[in-house]
């Protein structure tokens, strides 16, 4: 007997009970749609985090003071305050030459910012001109901090997009004067919005580092009579050389800080790929978790199918007896019922995939949650639906196939 005949018989049986078939299928439809939608959202989260980190430059190394906290070991110990110095930056700038695009120092602290009646606390970043290239900032209006500003110690400021809006609203910020901790600064530029990505400059105020040391940061930026910095950013020209540059940085800073090989360093070098790795582990776990929840609903749908198929087998006992009487073998009956279940689950799977893709696209369009529909998640959902059809179809199909022909014919 041809396979297509079996499919025909199965489709006819499903058509005979349209309402029931649709309701049964709904369980699979919802399950598959959730799997596809949730996986897409999970992958969307991964992708948006990845891109936000990479937009900060995947070849960016951040040097920060302090020990890398590794689990519980650091908890009990009294942590010594450690610092990075401006001289560290100078040493790196002088010694490191290979594979380096830029090395820039940053001093960051929060102060009260005021314009007119608006005043609030904001993070102030003391930077140099190259900072713009290191972080790939785009200028929306005016200009960025220049070398001249730093040399002259000019009281100028560049605002992040959100900061400009908060302070000035509809007003054009460039040329206006703001006060930071009581010191007057003239706004010379506004950055383009970067969105809520990691390390976004949107709510920062940038001033020349030198101006900061001279007029704003005062004693807090001094330790042991040396100027301190919050971070040193190292932009590597070739991201495959990240590790090499990272160890060179460590070597130089160990010498600067008089730390011998055996001792633990009092700074750490963080590359974007490290951050990426950590975060993608988190989002992957999230995706698996979401997928598993959706999988449970698919499982419930499968149980629904099995339930209905068992009812159907009982209802059609006489039909099964007749089919056996006219020559249907055990295997033919088994195949017929299995195909019915698989047809239900596969049809439900296809509709579910379309719905899931629809939901994910809707999320994306409304901009609520980013979602990425991948072929693998669709394939996964489809395979799962198929497997559920086979798995939950086997028992009812065996029940049908094992019916005794005479007893089945007599069944009322």
């Amino acid at each position: 007997m041809l396979f297509s005949e079996n499919v025909k018989i199965a489709l006819r049986a499903l058509q005979a009970n349209k309402m029931r078939s649709v309701l049964t299928m709904l369980g699979i439809v919802i399950g598959v749609a959730t799997v596809v939608a949730l996986l897409s959202i999970g992958q969307g989260a991964t992708a948006s985090i990845t891109s936000s980190i990479e937009s900060g430059g995947s070849n960016l190394l951040t040097v920060a003071p302090g020990k890398m906290q590794t689990g519980m070991s650091s908890m009990g110990q009294s942590r010594q305050v450690s610092h990075l110095y401006y001289s560290d930056y100078q040493a790196l700038e002088r010694i490191l030459t290979q594979n380096i695009a830029y090395i820039v120092p940053v001093y960051q602290s929060s102060y009260m910012v005021k314009f007119g009646d608006e005043s609030f606390t904001a993070n102030i970043s003391g930077v140099v001109a190259e900072h713009k290239d290191v972080r790939s900032f785009n200028i929306a209006a005016g200009r960025f901090i220049s070398d001249g500003d730093n040399k002259a110690g000019s009281p100028v400021a560049v605002l992040g997009d959100q900061m400009a809006q908060d302070l000035f609203g509809e007003l054009y910020p460039v040329g206006k004067t703001i006060s930071i901790n009581g010191v007057k600064f003239q706004v010379v530029g506004v950055l383009e919005a970067k969105g809520s990505s990691l390390g976004s400059p949107d709510d920062l105020v940038f001033i020349p580092l030198e101006t900061g040391y001279n007029k704003l940061f005062g004693e807090t930026a001094n330790y042991n009579g040396k100027k301190t910095v919050s971070n040193i950013l190292v932009s590597v020209s070739d991201s495959t050389k990240n590790d090499a540059v990272s160890s060179e940085v460590e070597f130089v800073l160990r010498r600067m800080h008089n730390i011998t090989g055996a001792e633990e360093v009092d700074f750490y070098v963080l590359s974007q790929s490290d951050t990426l790795k950590t975060l993608s582990t988190v989002t992957q776990t999230l995706t698996i978790f979401l997928g598993a929840i959706a999988g449970i609903s698919l499982l419930v749908g499968g149980i629904g199918i099995m339930n209905i198929m068992l009812v159907s087998v009982t209802e059609r006992t006489k039909e099964i007896g007749l089919r056996k009487a006219v020559g249907a073998t055990r295997n033919q009956i088994l195949t017929q019922f299995l195909i019915e279940t698989v047809t239900l689950s596969v049809l439900g799977g296809v509709i579910g995939i379309l719905m899931g893709v629809g939901i994910a696209t809707l999320f994306k369009m409304t901009g609520m949650i980013s979602s990425v529909i991948t072929a693998s998640s669709i394939l996964l959902a489809f395979t799962f639906a198929l497997a559920i059809g086979v798995f939950f179809g086997l028992y009812p199909a065996f029940r049908a196939a094992n019916l005794h022909p005479m007893e089945a014919l007599r069944y009322e």
Binding site: M1, E5, R12, G327, N331
Partner: protein, 238 residues
């Protein structure tokens, strides 16, 4: 053609054994029209299901068309049913929402015959029972007599060795019943089809050439009926 020897069927009903069939032996030749008769509980249904290969005997031997079937597995039995036996049931047992033609095609489908040949054979079979014009009607659009004709067409479509009819007129009014009996007689007379009628009704049984009577699982008589009633002839009670 059909030969049984000491057919016995024992059902286990809880603690007690029920001997539904107790040593039935007989022989039916090709081209015979025969009735198996007995009251309910006599074992005629059990005998029918064994003859029809729907059930296996507990002991004894059964040969159909020279093939011994008592030790066959389920799949082989299904094949024998499909090729050698055509069933006609009291309740017709047609598939609902399925046209007459497709109902008749069903045994061919399971026998692996498809396409044009299957349809042509099914049409021919429907013509033999006088339903050539109603091939696309579903069972609920047909009268009881027409439904039973579809069932007979389905039974004939595989050109079976035996047409095995279980109370074929039981669900029909007497006029339609006569028409169906006429059809059986015509098939037997004109094409030499072997027909076995299983019935409790002596009047129906007397349409055949030979009557086997069962009681309590045993054959109590096996007689030739020299003057079978011709279907449609005025009913004379004896």
């Amino acid at each position: 053609m059909i030969e049984t020897k000491d057919l016995t069927k024992i059902y286990q009903m809880g603690e007690t054994e029920v001997r539904a069939l107790d040593g039935a032996s007989f022989r039916i030749e090709k081209g015979e029209m025969i009735a198996i008769m007995g009251p309910s509980g006599s074992g005629k249904s059990t005998l029918m299901s064994i003859i029809g290969c729907l059930d296996a005997p507990t002991s004894g031997s059964y040969t159909i068309d020279g093939v011994s079937v008592e030790n066959m597995d389920e799949t082989k039995l299904a094949e024998v049913r499909g090729r050698k036996i055509g069933f006609v049931f009291q309740q017709f047992n047609l598939l609902a929402r399925t046209s007459a033609l497709e109902n008749v095609m069903l045994p061919l489908t399971y026998a692996g015959i498809a396409g044009k040949e299957r349809e042509a054979r099914a049409r021919k079979s429907l013509e033999r029972v006088g339903l050539g014009a109603r091939t696309h009607h579903a069972p609920n659009e047909l009268s009881g007599g027409q439904q039973q004709r579809v069932a007979i067409a389905r039974a004939l479509v595989n050109e079976p060795a035996i047409l095995l009819a279980d109370e074929p007129t039981g669900a029909l009014d007497s006029k339609t019943g006569v028409e169906i009996m006429d059809l059986f007689q015509t098939l037997h007379r004109e094409t030499g089809q072997t027909v076995i009628l299983v019935t409790h009704d002596a009047y129906v049984a007397r349409h055949t050439n030979r009557i086997i009577k069962l009681a309590d699982g045993k054959i109590v008589s096996d007689e030739v009926n020299a003057n079978p009633i011709k279907a449609g002839a005025p009913r004379v009670e004896v």
